[in-house]
């Protein structure tokens, strides 16, 4: 096969893979809206979605319509958006920080969000004018600002950024623990704990309307910088020598991903492992080139988070686990498996 045809067929294969992933994602969402305390036949779920989205006139019960439309569909779509955003952020940060352990919360965003959330929920800061999500968002940005200031004051190299993130995370986590330990009653502590572990219950269309555009734009920006990210493989100097304006690329990508994660963490709390594991799994499927890796990461992140949300609702009968517990329970062994495979491959 001549090189052009080979490239063409590889691109076609890539598009096919994305197509398959999209179908799997839609299937996952369909299952996600059907399972739960009240299980609804998949056919009925499809009819409801078709009525609402395509304007068809199938006969379905009002309760079923309400459950699917008001609660489950927004939640399933949010899970997809959440997974896509966290996973692509992990992939981008792993490349920019040249560290395979980088993940969306490495810059202190989740620690800051937690402090912000408990300050609102337990200390009653803002006297009701700021919602829990609003407080978490402000906390996340505050932590990010401290990390950025600390990292740039210490030279701005990748290791310094990571160290700054660790230090600031520890500090904000201590603040969170301090507030919970000194000021919370048992009921509040349980509520905060639920949020800290990452939780999708209570996600509504308004949350999706807030998060989806941010995630869409941020993912788009990451995809536009796919080739620049490839050039970072041998470090920032090598990228610069390949004509990449590294300061600008870093500012854009850190900014986009941080905004995205701040919005997501403020709505759901910390959902671990998706941002760490999915990029590594996607690298096995799509290779290290970001033009293929990032779409694969986005789709895989969305699918796995929707599946994790389904599991969180069916693992324990009559009870919904925080999704962060499920992603960690399944993510940790998955990561271990990837590590062992990587060792055998090398």
């Amino acid at each position: 096969m001549d090189p052009a045809a080979r490239i063409g067929s590889r691109q076609a294969a890539g598009f096919n893979l994305i197509g398959v992933a999209a179908i799997v994602l839609l299937l996952g969402i369909t299952v996600a809206v059907s399972v739960g305390e009240m299980s609804i036949p998949i056919g009925t779920s499809l009819q409801v979605m078709s009525n609402r989205l395509l304007g068809t006139g199938y006969e379905v019960g009002r309760i079923q319509d309400g459950i699917i439309w008001e609660y489950r569909l927004s939640r399933a779509l949010f899970a997809a958006v959440l997974g896509a955003g966290l996973a692509v952020t992990g992939a981008v940060l792993q490349t920019l920080l040249r560290n395979p352990l980088a993940e969306p919360y490495v810059l202190g965003l989740s620690a800051g969000a937690s402090s912000g959330a408990v300050a609102i929920a337990i200390l009653g800061l803002g006297a009701g004018a700021i919602s829990l999500s609003g407080g978490a968002f402000i906390g996340a940005l505050l932590a990010l600002a401290v990390v950025a200031a600390l990292a740039s004051a210490s030279g701005g190299s990748a290791e310094r950024v990571i160290l700054a993130g660790i230090v600031v995370s520890q500090l904000f986590n201590a603040v969170t623990s301090y507030i919970v330990a000194t000021a919370a009653n048992a009921e509040q502590a349980r509520g905060v704990m639920f949020w800290l572990l990452g939780n999708l219950s209570g996600v509504r269309w308004t949350d999706l309307a807030l998060a989806a555009p941010v995630v869409l734009v941020a993912c788009g920006m990451c995809l536009l910088h796919a080739r620049a990210l490839d050039a970072f493989a041998f470090g920032p100097d090598a990228a610069m020598a390949l004509g990449i304006r590294i300061a600008r690329v870093r500012a854009v990508l850190f900014g986009c991903t941080a905004a995205m994660v701040a919005v997501l963490v403020s709505i759901t709390g910390t959902v671990g492992f998706i941002g760490l594991v999915v990029p590594h799994a996607a690298r096995f499927l799509a290779g290290p080139g970001h033009a293929r890796l990032l779409p694969a990461t986005i789709m895989l992140g969305a699918i796995l988070t929707v599946v994790a949300d389904i599991l969180s609702r069916i693992l324990v009968p009559q009870q919904t686990l925080p999704i962060g517990v499920v992603t960690a329970l399944f993510g940790a062994p998955a990561f271990a498996a990837i590590l062992c495979r990587a060792r055998r491959a090398s």
Partner: protein, 257 residues
């Protein structure tokens, strides 16, 4: 006109690394940078590549201040091979060499046949075509070095900057890579530790000592018995080789004190 440094100074960590360095590479020439460890060769190459900003003086490309060249245009002109390239990413030799085409491709332009042909060609030049699908972390030091040189050649530069390109290479590949660089119609500035290789393959040499140019010129003029003793602290016997007709240095073991 090509790449030149005029009265360039640079410091790092409060220490003056380069001080008043002036040099100019003639078009198509191989200019060798020699000098002891810490004499400023690598720093000078980074300044010439525009990877660091000069503290004083100016680096010019065709007479134009390199600081004013757009990053992308610079990368289409000047390629750099640094001493130690390292990556955690599971990239293959082919991925690495393809990076050389990054500056030449638009944001949305896809990989095309001429890009692929050039990459194949440079892989053959450095003798890595058979290894092109091997993963970076399975390569030997010399293979990595050759992959980076191939990447630099894939940039299709007019100026090539090489920092110790023969490090880690066995003697066959040392000679082959330098002979290849000599054959290429590009202007090359190369930092070398091996003075015999420098004498054999460079048109001119710049001898650095403590961040200053000690002397510059043809190898036979720069490398003298007296200078080797003063700058490198070694005794040597110098002569023109009857085999290749260029300067050859035989180093003598240090005298016991």
């Amino acid at each position: 006109m090509t790449i030149a440094a005029r009265n360039v100074g640079w410091s790092a960590g409060g220490r003056m690394v380069l001080d008043g360095v002036t040099l100019e590479a003639a078009p198509g020439q191989v200019l060798g940078l020699i000098g002891p460890n810490g004499s400023g060769k690598s720093s000078l190459l980074r300044l010439l590549a525009g990877l660091r900003r000069v503290a004083s003086g100016v680096v010019t490309l065709d007479g134009r201040n390199i600081d004013r060249c757009p990053r992308g245009a610079l990368a289409r002109r000047v390629a750099m091979v640094e001493q130690q390239a390292a990556t955690e990413a599971p990239v293959t030799v082919l991925d690495v060499v393809r990076l050389g085409r990054v500056p030449h491709r638009g944001l949305f332009s896809s990989w095309n046949a001429p890009d692929g042909a050039l990459v194949d060609q440079v892989l053959c030049h450095v003798g890595l075509h058979a290894l092109r699908h091997r993963l970076w972390h399975t390569l030997s030091g010399g293979e990595r070095q050759r992959a980076q040189i191939a990447r630099a050649l894939a940039q299709h530069p007019q100026e090539l900057l090489l920092d110790e390109p023969t490090n880690h290479l066995d003697v066959q590949h040392q000679l082959e890579i330098l002979a290849l660089i000599r054959r290429l119609p590009v202007t090359t500035v190369v930092a070398l530790h091996d003075l015999n290789l420098a004498a054999m393959f460079c048109d001119n040499l710049v001898l650095l000592q403590n961040g200053r140019v000690r002397t510059a010129g043809a190898p036979a003029d720069v490398l003298t018995r007296q200078r080797l003793l003063e700058v490198f602290g070694v005794s040597a016997h110098l002569g023109i080789s009857p085999h290749h007709g260029r300067l050859h240095i035989q180093f003598l073991p240090p005298q016991p004190r």
